[in-house]
Every structure is written in C-alpha cells, then in structure tokens.
Subunit: 400 residues, 2 copies
C-alpha cells in the first residue's frame, strides 16, 4: 500500500498528539516529513528527527513530495493563509481550527473545489465526538429537523461547579484554569463565541447552508449570578450553555444561550468537561452523542480519522441540499429567566416577577436589544415543560 | 460518475425502505436491478417495475452485471448460503442480518477476504446508531476498555412500561406487540438472545476478536416480576437489559443481564424503543450514543450508509489487533438482586434478605448454574454505587 507523506503546521497540544500517534503506529501508513513551528529551539518532551522542524511555511507548502497538509496552529487568519496556499499548490488539508473554519467556511469550500482538493476538519468541533461525520454520512438520506449542543467544556465545567458545588462564577472559572480546561483569557469560551463557531460549522453539515457566526445571536455564561443558581437548585434543574439550530419550514433559526434542563433531558447528565449533541431528524428521530469535547488525544484522534478519509479519498457531498433552505434572522418567542438588571425593564411580557429576577416571554433578538441598555443583563431559557412544572410548584405554594 | 447496480434479497420492512430510498434519490447512484422474494404475487404498497421480482436467487447471484448484493432476509442459514455464494461470485455484500453475522462472523470475514470482496452490516446492530462505524473509525487509534449497550428496543419498551406505568410483564409485552415493536414470538428479544447477537458483533469491532454468542452468559427479562419492580421503584431506580464487555488485562469478559440504573447513569434516560451505547476508551474516555435501534427507516439508512462505503471502496481494517487479547469464560463477582426461587438457595453469599428476594454477591456463571435447579430464578445486577446508596437508606430505616 502506498505510504503517504504529510507536512504539519503547529506542534502544540494537538499537533504533538498527532505526530506521536503517527510515529508510533506504522499501520497508518502516513509519515510527517516536516513540521512548521514558531520556535525551533523550544523544549519538547519527545524526540524529533534532526532537521524536521522549520520556521518557513514555504518549505512545506512548496514541497512537491508531500501528499497532504495538517494545519494545527492557533491563529485563524494565519491558518487561513496557509490553507489557501496549500489548496493553490493542489494539496488536501486536515485542520482542527474551529475559528478559521467558522469564519471562512464558504470561501474554504469554494477554494477547495476550485483547486480539486479535499478539506476535512472533524477535530474542529467537539473533539472526539465524530459529529460532522455523523451529520454527513448518516443523515445524508434523512432530513435534520434540529440540532442542540453542549459544545464547550470550559463553560460546562464552570456551570457544573456553580450548581453542584455552590461555587461562584469567578472561583469556578479559576478551578477550570488551574485544571487546564480554560484559557488564561477565557473570553471566547465564556462569552459563548466558541460554541457559536462550532454551531455555525455544524449548521452546514446538518442543513447544507453557510452561516457566518456573527449572524447567530448569543448569550454567554459570564453574567450568570447566584440568583440563577438558587433558582436552578430550588427546582432541581441544571444550567447548560446550549447552541441550537432548527429547521422551521426551510428557515434555519439558530442561537447560543444558557438553558435550564431537567433530569428528563439528555443534557442533564453532561457534566464537567464533557460535550453532548442531540440531533433530531425525520426518519432516524432523536440521536444523542456524548463524549470528551477537547484535549490533546480526543482532538488528535479526530484529526487522524480525517487523514484516513484523505487516504481513502472520501468526499463531503452536499449535492442534495434543498435550494429553498435559508438562514432566518428571526427567533421564536420563548420563556426566559431574566436577571442582572437594576432598573425596571419596559416593553417586555412579564409572566412572573421576584425582586431579583423576572420570568418573561420574549425572543433572543429582543433580549439582545435590551442588553444594550442593561449591560449586566442575562437570560436563561426555560422550556415549556419545565415552566409548567415550576408553575405548578409555585401555585401549590400560593394555595397553601 | 459510475452508476452502480445492485441485487436485493428480501423486500420486507427494511428491504422496502432501502428500495424506496434508492429509487427516490438518484444522487445515490445505485439502482436495484433485481429483487429476490418468496412470493412474487404478494400485495405491496408501492409500485415495482415489471419483471424486477424473482424467486430464483441464482438470477441475482449469477448476474455478471451486478456490482453488489444487499441481503435483507430473515432466515440466518438461508442468508448465509446467499452471502457465501455472492462472495464466491466475487460480489461484495451489505447485510442487516444480526443473527447471521453473529453466528457466522469469523467464517464470513475469512470468506470475504479469500474472495477479495467487502462485507458490511451496520444495520445489523442498533439500527440508526452507527456504532460499528464509530468503533472502527474513531477508536482505531485508541484502546477500548469497555462497551455497554441497551441494544433491544422491545425489552427496553417492556421495562419502561413495567417501572413507569406499573404494568406487569405480560401486559407490557402485549402493548409492545400491538405497537409492532415485538414479534409475535418474542423469545429472541425477551430472552436476551437478540442483545447477545449484537454484543457478539460489537465485541469484534471493539476488541478485534470473534466470540460465538453462545459463549456469552445470558439472563433475559422474561422472568422479572413485581418483586423487582417494587424494589426498583422504592429506590428510584430503573431496570435496563444491558449487554456489556470489558477488556481486563487483555481478557475480554462479556455478559447480558438486567441491571438497576440510577439517574446518574447515561442509561437512565433511554426509554421505550430507544437504544443506547456507552464506550469507554483509554484516550477518548467515555462516549455515549443514543438513538432508535430498529424500524424500517433507521435500519434502511444504516444499509444505505454501507452502500456508500462500497461505492467508495472502504475497508474494515483490524490489522492492529493485539495478539494477546482473548475471550475469557470467567466473570467478576458482582452484587445481584436475586428472586424467583421457591426453596432456599445454598452456597451463595447473601448480603441481605427479604421474604421474596436476596441481595447476593456472586458471578453470572454461578447464577446460571443455580438457575438449572430453579428455572424461574432471575437476577439483576446492582452496581457498587447503587448498593451503597440502598444500604445507607436501609441502615437509616433500621436506626429509626
């Protein structure tokens, strides 16, 4: 069998995992010939052959002997430049750069088609969970109705600690940083932006349309406070940051926001750094997948599975996309727990109110508008089911 | 792109789904040219081209123009004869016949290798859940430590009804039959045999060894009674029929038996006809998948995904199997709820006893031996965690 040769960009957490796995497992039949890094002299805890490292990306990109490129650097713009050039040189690419894929998704596809090369990025979304593969391969003959995901381990870890162990947001975040889950600058995680990148990518694989992440409305977890935690604990609920997208009459509606979940829901048991994804499709009905969403080995394994796809010359085919499907900038009205405001909030349908919070009926675009005047405002979605259960409890208390 | 031609055996629930999907979706690029059925004149609720049906399997097997064979009949021995002949004729096969695959697994692999053809059967295990694909593709570079599955929708439906709606076994079974989940002869489902076929198949994809299903010890749900249901309800537990396999120091230990599960476990939320599979691997850690395990469309989709594998000429590679791994006829001691006996049971370590049941410390092979003398005996596994929780409750009651 033909032995394949690859060039690698980036030798960080994931890159090291990929390099080590390919080296230890001859069976893959893929060897890394050259690795582009920022600093050749950096101390590394594994041996490298002399001369394999370079700081010149062109040494890899111009090397005619390489079959494909593995792109595992952090910076999305720099990564895009590398991938683009690789495509132009006729080389297929595997990447795990969610931000690059989300920001340049359509362009990357068009470029790869133009140059007749392949582009895979399973590692960009939810680490070891092969969600893009599932959406592509298994739902090809089905129609996805909705997609919901806990896609950020840092947020989920913080929310687990806040609800189960009564930690406040800052101390839970510090724990996550100490354990290496959260970046020193956790903004992208806790603002929900990271979840939104992944959701935007998944939307393409579920519904066949490209959506720029900025078009998806967003509420992170960085404003949640003890008012919410007490409310959740009182009603035996948990808090999860969920990205979701629905196909409603060929309009794709998407958002990222915290939600209250009950023990009846699949998401209830997704704790700490785990990710979970629920896909509802016409024929297959609900499918739920849970696994580790990040980390060196889980992500490296996803990269390796894509290298195998390249070896076997697989393709992502979206030929069956219905022309009518389009992204919608509207949202359904839902029930929300609303807190973090100081003054009265006008023009909102209040279902219930306490000193520190409202229960309202609103939609995320309206809430985003209100937030402009109330910067600490936050909202958490309450499903109809849960609202009815809470209401029954409250009415019961009042009747007594 | 080349248009592929296939011959189909069987036009039942799954066969009809596959035929209809391929006909409606030109994009698959696969056409069914000939269909072997038992009865040509049977009334069917969809149109068929004149002359596509035949009762002569050789009309398909000897047809040089066909690229592959889709085998979807019920009888495992007859199916094996067809598949074997197809291999000899140099044709690759997709099947969804779990019993055939489980009973002739190794032989089928050796024959397909000998004749240089492919053999895929994703539809044989857990319908729409692509568990074999997951085990093959994603865990190729990892080491699977254990595998646990709710793999039979009929049993799960019956157990859901017994615990949540207080139905007795017979009435729950009747409901399952009325709804079309259970066969008129439900023995293979409720005895656990069906789960065991699927577990045997999964063991190969998880650990790389062939195990005859008869080697896996088995306890079904057909003896469970109200003693267990009351016990489960009292402790807020659910009952699930679980097939599991563990790699313990390169010895694969497997069994199928009912287990008590608590709300902390992923299996707790698998209700009615759903299936769920938990895979624990060294690098990826826990992965959990839930979905519909049977039915026309879910299974047809799995078959279609395999047809795509054939088109792209994929292979299942098990070249990396460690030579030392072997099946073990031993089981660990576990805690069991034991009931359905009339006389005292000798030679068993009893941890707790009530009139109608014991809590014992034993292993499934020992329990199988005891069952020979007590035909209505049944056991249900209690995990260490749950046992400790139950014990705390009981001790608390005694202290009062």
């Amino acid at each position: 069998m033909k032995k394949f040769k690859a060039g690698l960009f980036g030798l960080g957490v994931v890159g090291s995992g990929v390099y080590t796995a390919l080296k230890q497992n001859e069976k893959y039949g893929i060897s890394i010939e050259k690795i582009a890094v920022k600093n050749i002299n950096k101390q590394r805890d594994f041996d490298l052959p002399n001369g394999i490292l370079t700081t010149e990306s062109d040494e890899i990109l111009n090397n005619e002997g390489l079959d494909f490129i593995i792109e595992l650097i952090n910076d999305p713009e720099e990564a895009f430049g590398i991938v683009k050039k690789a495509f132009e040189k006729g080389k297929s690419v595997v990447s795990a750069n969610k931000k690059m894929v989300a920001l340049y998704h359509q362009e990357l596809f068009e470029l790869s088609e133009k140059h007749g090369v392949k582009f895979f990025y399973e590692g960009a979304v939810c680490g070891s969970i092969p969600i893009l593969r599932l959406l592509d391969q298994h739902f090809k003959s089905d129609t996805v109705k909705s997609l919901k995901a806990i896609a950020n381990g840092t947020c989920n870890f913080i929310l687990s600690k806040m609800v189960s162990e009564n930690q406040d947001y800052d101390s839970a975040l510090k724990d996550a940083q100490d354990l290496g889950f959260a970046e020193l600058d956790p903004y992208s995680d806790v603002s929900g932006e990271d979840t939104r990148f992944k959701l935007a990518i998944m939307i393409y694989h579920a519904f066949g349309i490209f959506v720029h992440p900025n078009k998806i409305p967003l509420q992170g977890i960085n404003f949640l406070d003890e008012n919410l935690v007490q409310f959740a604990q009182k009603h035996q609920l948990k808090i999860k940051l969920i990205g979701e997208a629905h196909n409603i009459n060929d309009k794709i509606k998407a958002k990222v926001e915290p939600q209250l979940v009950s023990e009846k829901q699949n998401f209830y048991n997704i704790e700490n750094e785990y990710n979970g994804i629920l896909v509802d499709a016409e024929f297959t009905a609900e499918q739920f997948v849970k696994g580790k969403g990040a980390g060196s080995f889980p992500t490296a394994l996803a990269v390796l599975s894509n290298l195998k796809d390249l070896k076997y010359n697989l393709a992502i085919s979206k030929s069956s996309v219905k022309k009518e499907i389009e992204y919608s900038n509207e949202a359904e009205k839902e029930i929300y727990f609303l807190a973090g405001f100081n003054d009265e909030i006008p023009e909102i349908e209040i279902l219930d109110r306490e000193d520190a919070y409202y229960i309202v009926n609103s939609d995320i675009y309206h809430l985003e508008k209100i937030k402009k005047k109330h910067p600490n405002l936050y909202w958490v979605k309450i499903s109809q089911d849960i609202y009815e259960k809470i209401n029954a409890v409250l009415n019961n208390l009042k009747l007594r």
